[in-house]
Amino acid sequence: QKSGSAAATDGIVVSFSDLSQPFFVAMRRDLEDEAQKLGVKVQVLDGQNNSSKQVSDLEAARVQGISAVIIAPTDSKALASATDALIDEKTVVVSVDRQIGGGKHPVPHFGANNVEGGRAMADWVVKTYPKGAKVVVITNDPGSTSSIERVKGVHEGLAAGGAAYQIVAEQTGNSKRDQALSVTQNVLTSMGGAHPDVILCLNDDMAMGALEAIRGAGFTTQQIAVLGFDAIPEALKRIRDGEMAASVEQNPGEQIRSALRAVVANLKDKTPIVSKSLTPVLITRDTLAQASRIGEVK
Amino acid sequence: MALLEAQDITKRFPGVVALGGASLRVEPGEVHALLGENGAGKSTLLKILSGAQGSDGGHLTFDAKPLRPDDTPSQRQKAGIVTIYQEFNLQPFLSVAENLYLGREPLRFGLIDHRQMRADARRILDDLGLSLDPDLEVSRLNVADQQMVEIARAMTLQAKLIIMDEPTAALSPREVDILHRIVGTLKARGIAVIYVTHRLKEVKAICDAYTVLRDGRFVASGQVSDVSIDDMVRLMIGRDVAFLKRPPRQVAPTPVLRIDGVSRRRGAHEARGTSLDNISFEVHAGEIVGLAGLVGAGRTDLARVLYGADRKDSGRIHLCGRALDIQSPAQALSAGIALVPEDRKQQGCFLDHSIRHNLSLSGLKSLSRPGGFVDEGAERRLVETFRQKLRIRMSSSEAAIGTLSGGNQQKVLLARCMALSPKVLIVDEPTRGIDVGAKADVHQVLFDMASEGMAVIVISSELPEVMAVSDRIIVFREGRITGTLEAADADEETLMALMATGSAPQAPNP
């Protein structure tokens, strides 16, 4: 640890919306890695997908005297009054993953746009199936912001492609692999001998489940393309092996790393914090090298 | 004009016709005995009167007005019919005072006045000669005190007719006496009482008129003064019952059970149970020892200690010469000590389970094949044996025990322990709620078991029963033994004196 700077960088708190989600778990690992590199300590909070808990955890943290907060909010509006109060007390606040809105003070944001991520999936479909396609969408936990935003992107993107792009089923897999498996299975059954051209899963875990279902139903991944979201190593491996078509990379690691770097720089030298927007990219077999976690693939 | 007129009441349950034309006519201010053997339909008729159950047919008139068949208990209560049920219906977690005034609590500024309620309760209890603490939680009272609370509750209601379903089954002579005084007072106030009991002497003592039911049908009614107890028995059962007296015994010279200085202190927060102070006695093979005492004398406590249901503080227990350290009923049973508890609903029955399962539960080990599989054939044969021996009245051994009449439930529990053929059998109020005919059957079974070499301890609050079945009677008072009498020397006066004051009446020091 560097002497002198420790005091200035004391009390950095990072509040995640839900640390049981692989996306945020990965983000947290990068955070801890970056913190070590920078020689700072961070306190990690888990909102457990509950805005009320996230707000009161932040207040609890505030009581112990904190200097900076990085928030991945459960809901962009619900955190506004909590962040306003923090900013009023001269606490540095930035957001990752999802922007905080509706407060008095603007909050710098480091993240990728979920709607655009969804649109990237749809664009791939439109490009790959110029004559149109039957699409199945497997969504995250109902009501979760990631689900709503990504679905919105998918809908907009497919609508832009025209009437030939048809969503034949949109069901929830509750962000979980096993539920995606069974729901995909059921969707395939309902279509009888026919099959969809593409299954868009709004996270990679569910894409894994969908792959199992496709295999179990006797289809090939040539017949049905599966797309995921988050570009986790397991998905990257499947993309490399040709089982999965693509996954959306939002680079959670880069989001949190740059957010932390900006916060630390600000605490040390008052460097102003500039928002950073990462464009979600679609990782396919050809662009695997762009995936941030490609190094973790065995 | 009769106060209550019930005509041709019918009530069917699946597989059973509980009432097939029962009639009852009660005049104002009379104490009316409702008689019948176990399962005759007494409780069912009374529940129909109180609104606890609906009937399938028949007419009810009360106070010159017809009663609607679908009245709720509270509507009947408002009409003036107050009921003390055979199975208690108290609120276990509420205090005595709260139970007495449930739904009718005294209010002050719209809120319950707890102080007033406590004072009222204390007054009622004092009136009845009970010095119960009105703040005690009812779950911590013994059976007799719960019964007295039920009675006290009935007293606080405005009644024209009070129905009492076997109120004395759980009471010892002192409480029975209190109850009889209460009944006298009610009668003097012009309140009619329907009184169910299997202790026919009580009928002679306090009842004016009687009605007999058999198999759910009206059999006879009349004035009590016109009939003898034997007549009543014949009307109920249709035959004469020979009252058994313990045949001459052959007591083995060695004691089976030796109790040596057993003591137990009662915890400060233990409302029920009595302290036991240095209890010592022996029971021999083939001997029946009766324990007499008033409610709270400590007989049940001793039984529970012997059976491992409660811990003792000091003292030793020897079985067949070997010292025992029993920690649980399971250990007691495997050592050969069995107990039929006094509170059948709380401590004995699995009300929703079948009669067969209830009866065989303790003896499953000997009914099991290797691997722990129950031999259901043997189990059914066992049930059949006891159904005949104890005349258990049931539609099928697969029916829930909760659908049996109170007396028949008691018989099933007796059978559960008898089937084990233990070395020591302890029965606590074994004939509670059992009719005269079946009582003789139960006694006969006890005699048979004793003559097979079993040591039997009978706890009973009914003095004639203790005297009839025991070879030897040990009297308890406040946790101590105050006397031991050979059956031949025992008479009610002596026993009562030992139970109540601790010394024999003529007072030459024993």
Partner: protein
Amino acid sequence: MTATPAPAPDLSAPPAKAPFDTVAFLRTWGTTLFLLLLIIGFAAWNPRFLSLRNALNILTEVSIYGVIAVGMTFVILTAGVDLAVGSLLAFAAIAAAWVVQHMGGDLPQWLVALGVASAIGLAAGYAHGKTITWLKVPAFIVTLGGMTIWRGATLILNDGGPISGFDAGYRWWGTGAVLGVPVPVILFALVALAGHVTLRYTRFGRQVYAVGGNAEAARLAGINVKAILISVYVIVGFLAGLSGFLLSARLGSAEAVAGINYELRVIASVVIGGASLSGGAGNIRGTLIGALLIGVLSNGLVIMHVSSYFQQVVIGLIIVAAVAFDAYAKSHRGKV
């Protein structure tokens, strides 16, 4: 009868009362004591834990589910359970927000929202109670059904998304304060007081205990058991609606995912507070302690910097320990 009883001796004199009874004290105050120890422990670790601000934070957070826990106490006293409260909270909140946004007339936003949320809570509670008593479906199933039905309705109503944009008058109910005390805390205190008085000092309250203690006996004693059962679900439904209003006022947003898993937290508060799930035993004081214990724990562990996965382990262990402590204190009743 031949024997004449001798004058009855005083056999059943109640045991004399000791001047101070440690055991009775522990029996009643076991969990409270544990909570105090916990607070002392946290304060020793970090004195800021005891600051007024932190105390108010904890209380505000507790208020949201504490309000429901008061209602749940009634339900559990009758040996029932309500698993639907979390979903109902969300539905009441989002429906209220929806009405405010789409049909708000001249009335103040908060008034409309409070009215809608309460009305939905009352109606849903009535529906639950009626289904339980009339169709004779166990409360567990009815409210499990309610849990998914109301959640589904919430998602349908605004297509899964949150509704936000309330005015200051609305937000005041969640974020304002009177004499330094946050509004939700004041409301919670009032609700708890009303619950306590109702259970302890009204006939209705005693009847709630009676229905849970022994339903058949209660019926035979002339209590309208069905009416009591329906009332308790109406009460908890109303309070879930109120809580939904408070939560959306606090967050400035009515979310479709609000209140997920609240049912467990609320039931845990009541049971930690000493109520029995088989009915008849429990009280509001216990529920308050239970709710506070949960609130203090999750706040204190954050302040102690316990890592978030470990927090779950520690919370689980401490809750079990708290109840074990209480059970141990109670078990000594026979052994003084």
